[in-house]
Subunit: 454 residues, 2 copies
């Protein structure tokens, strides 16, 4: 007996998995993913690239099927496009290390648009999102790391996750889900070349991936066929788009474990490689016995893995964006301000003399022991020499928000409040309440408060 | 001085080329491309995959910006999607050998939607289409043949052509055109894997390519940025999506020659590899001195190049679709019916005893001389042994419709009439008249007769 085609195995998993099959902690975790996504989307809604995409969607017009985080309602496809773009622009959305996928920004907009349009329940949505994460994480793991050389995994692999989640919400049967996955894969796109210019394509990628996955599912619902072996087929996704791949990752323990729990959250509004050092700085500052104050610091030596040194050793960042990739800035910011959230990365902090003075005392270097544990552990060692000559040494193996160093729900709620502090307090708190009680929602067509406004 | 980036060179060409720069024969030829496209699109409009895509577009809704070949009007993006899908389903659309691109089905829907929405002139449309063909042919040539191993050139490379044509119609300046090309390339998709299942993805590819190219141009108009070296960049289209490439093909004689003239038209409704043999059969049948009649035939030996033998040697096709890939059927059909158009490939002809009897006398084999000239020449030698013992030998190097064996405008008009014989005669003839006088149209927003109906 030969193994079923990968799409078929995934389709069976998608069709058969019900909300009732999810362990309680998966349900709770998925709701936090939704909240975290919503925060990123609302925080990004007014950024220029998102404004442009929203304007275009408005000009195109469409039936009022789903809500936009930028306000108003539009067609399900346009909602997926705009919301998918909006949630990837402030760089605070979730990340899965093994597949290098930011799943929320692709899976959730597609799922939400389908759920709103078709009036599905909160439980349906939770199950669909957990399934969508699972599907794209598996495909991303199968093609990692070689696929990532050229391709933006979040967009390419994410398209499958969007189709899986949307297909689940449409109630597609196994055969139709195979076609949906097939036509998701044959639309998969998103090259890294844009990064050379810092171009806006990054948000187009995620918006389009959400839209394309939803499109594949909606067409499959009508009987539109696609390739049945899009992953492993001779002219399919694996062979065409990755130098090496491990197909077994797609089905390994499929249905036994929910990989959404492997998801990491970003608490600090900077490059992920700066996070372990920020965590250490904050822990020293918050030490109840001996809280570290900036003026006590004579020297800080930060020992990181290779990417920390290669990407974040910048003693003199020239812009707020560059500051997010400066370990010196991030550590000094954390020690001076006690936070490194969206609100802390500003022109003001960039030129704050207290921060700049402290930055001069911070040195970044490779720590061979920390590096040996990479990439399984994204760790950092920090050695602080005090003015009096004493030395404090601390170390972490995982940035806060990794599954091994989980962030508490309260902290994610706090992050959400910070990301949405431009909203009226009442609406912000109602969002938190709604998302954390998502399983109680009977009909998502009526989900968003205040009519058409998220 | 280094050469400008490829996108910049193309953008400059797109911006600077005006209708007035086109030689008269390019204008005439482009109009024939439009007519041929329209015939394919109208002939395919009611096919199941197109019906499904159209239904979905209807459900999504949209402003009435452009006409659908399936009837009615919708948003520019949806029009590009539906019309792009419709024009690739009856397999009679044009083909460019060197780039392996069917340009019409991607470039024209995107251009037409932009032109209708913005009320551009017929001259603007003609120039944009000629430019769009040029751009995608060049990119396709640069990545041929290796790209074609996995990728459907028409969709992937076609996306650039759609963006180029739409960008021209939007009046984008060089810098914006660079961004449009960048975001076209980063959306490029379409894997051949669907062919294993004969899935409907083929039409999704062309519809999406038209839509994605138009989307890239519309976003660029708003200032949305993209990668500036999408073709040759280290993580761009060439490196990611083709094993080998020749970047010089992109700019070789750019602006000096209009590659749209290299386009081939399909006259017969079958696999292109059967066309030279059909041409020969029709010429023997139409010989004014000695018209060949089926009952005179004792034996026909068809000598082809390798693909003729590999793909079209099928003495007993089981379906109408399979019959289009059976050289025995195609040659017998041509001799019995005197035509091999859309109307001739039917269940009736498939089981016609006269055709079946003749098929038994037809043999397909490799002709080393013909094969040696392939792929520059798609030739065939045919040797007919008559009942009386005499032998007729004929040979062609290029199927009818290749630039080396051009089809007359009158023949393409005849093909259009056959493809649209389900339409009222008045509408059909008006279409012909309108397209052949396209340069007279002042405002394409008002182009289609009978209001919203193509």
């Amino acid at each position: 007996m030969t193994a079923p085609a990968l799409s078929q195995a995934l389709a069976r998993f998608i069709e058969r998995t019900r909300y009732e099959d999810l362990p309680q902690e998966v349900v709770s975790f998925t709701k936090l993913c939704v909240l975290d996504w919503l925060g990123s989307a609302l925080a990004g809604a007014d950024q220029p690239p998102i404004r442009m995409i929203r304007e275009l969607a408005e000009e195109m017009g469409g039936a009022e099927q789903a809500a936009l985080v930028t306000g108003g309602r539009t067609s399900a496809l346009h909602a997926a496009l705009v919301n998918g773009a909006a949630s990837h622009v402030v760089e605070l959305d979730d990340i899965h290390k093994a597949s290098i996928i930011h799943a929320a920004t692709v899976v959730i907009p597609a799922a939400l648009a389908a759920a709103e349009w078709r009036g599905r329940s909160g439980r349906d949505l939770i199950a669909a999102i957990a399934i969508g994460y699972d599907v794209c994480f598996r495909i991303g793991e199968a093609v990692s790391p070689s696929h990532y050389r050229y391709w933006h995994n979040t967009a390419t692999c994410g398209t499958f996750g969007a189709a899986a989640a949307a297909g689940k919400l449409l109630g597609l049967a196994e055969e139709s889900l195979v076609h949906a996955l097939g036509n998701a894969g044959t639309q998969a796109a998103g090259l890294w070349e844009f990064i050379e210019d810092g171009a806006m394509s990054k948000q187009l990628h995620t918006g389009k991936a959400a839209m394309n996955g939803l499109l594949a599912a909606l067409l499959a619902e009508k009987g539109f066929t696609g390739p049945t072996r899009i992953l492993e087929g001779g002219r399919g996704f694996f062979h065409a788009m990755s130098e090496e791949f491990d197909a077994s990752r797609v089905t390994e323990r499929l249905g036994e474990t929910f990989k959404i729990r492997e998801n990491s959250f970003k608490i600090h509004a900077s490059c992920r490689h700066t996070h372990p050092a920020i965590d250490l700085a904050l822990s020293l500052r918050a030490d109840p016995a001996n809280p570290l104050r900036p003026e006590q610091v004579r020297k800080i030596r930060v020992g990181g893995y290779r990417s920390v040194v290669a990407i974040t050793d910048d003693p003199s960042p020239a812009s707020v964006y560059a500051a997010k990739f400066s370990l010196q800035f991030c550590v000094a910011l954390a020690l001076v301000k006690g936070r490194a959230g969206l609100a802390e990365f500003t022109e003001q902090t960039l030129h704050d003399p207290a921060i700049r003075t402290l930055m001069e005392r911070i040195e970044v270097k490779l720590d061979p022991e920390v590096d040996a544990a990479y990439p399984e552990c994204w760790g950092t060692r920090m050695e602080v020499t005090l003015a009096g000559g004493d030395t404090l040494t601390v170390r972490t193996d995982y940035p806060k928000g990794d599954p091994e160093n989980p962030v508490a729900a309260e902290e994610l709620i706090g992050k959400f409040r910070l990301m949405t502090d431009h909203l009226p307090v009442g609406r912000r708190e109602r969002h938190i309440e709604m998302v954390l009680q998502l399983e109680e929602a009977a009909d998502l067509a009526q989900f968003w408060p205040e009519g058409s406004r998220i």
